[in-house]
Symmetry: C2
Subunit: 113 residues, 2 copies
DNA sequence: CCGATATACAACCGACTGGTTGATAAACCG
DNA sequence: CGGTTTATCAACCAGTCGGTTGTATATCGG
């Protein structure tokens, strides 16, 4: 899938990439440093960074022979916003307890839609 | 990857599955109804539901010949919590402007690690 | 210019994904 | 009982994913 939200969630669906983002939350870093914690080739890291870049989660500049990566927050906003939107519907507009009651009643007479 | 967070983000990385969750935010629904909006076989929907179930995002009960699906919020909390954690580090503890300054200084003397 | 370092590109591999079709099980209805 | 509806299981297929190795390219530092 190539829609924006799917790219973002797909990029987040990997522990290595999440760790990279966690590191980038502390500030810019070049590729080699990002890869240092992982038992993995530099090319593998490069691929992960490409996935993150395609999702818009990072941007890369050039600084001599280094290509420092920087975290971009906007896609995280989108992802978080999507989740919160439906969590809100679930938790607020109905309420957890009330929802539970509705569920049990629905189980009994199954007439709520 | 089979860690919990990767399963959740992976499950969210598909528009069909996100639409199913959106529908389930309005209440329980059986498989056939969940699949109705999509131009897709019932088996494909069944597979999507299995992905969602494996991620803990839905649970399924039995009600005669129907298997109603129900949204589970806990994994969404985890996912949202992960995102917010790092967004917070980025936006609050440093601030966007201050971060920008750090970034530019780092570009000049490159001595911050 | 030369060698080392940093990074990217391409091809390959096994595993998984998202869909298909065909067959199957279970529960309702007449 | 037999037929319909609901849903799953199993096999298959093309495409993508996460990693590898090998090969380039570019920049720094003598």
């Amino acid at each position: 899938m190539d829609d924006a939200l799917s790219l973002v969630f797909g990029a987040l669906a990997d522990p290595t990439r999440r760790a990279i983002l966690a590191r980038l939350a502390e500030g810019e870093a070049p590729v080699t440093e990002l890869g240092r914690p992982f038992d993995m080739s530099a090319q593998a890291i490069s691929k992960h960074l490409k996935v993150l870049e395609r999702a818009g989660l990072i941007s890369r500049s050039r600084q001599g022979q280094w290509r420092p990566c920087r975290l971009e927050v906007a896609p995280l906003d989108h992802a978080s916003g999507w989740i919160e939107q439906y969590r809100a519907v679930w938790e607020d507009s109905l309420g957890r307890l009330e929802q539970e009651i509705v569920r049990i009643q629905g189980r009994q007479d199954h007439a709520h839609d």
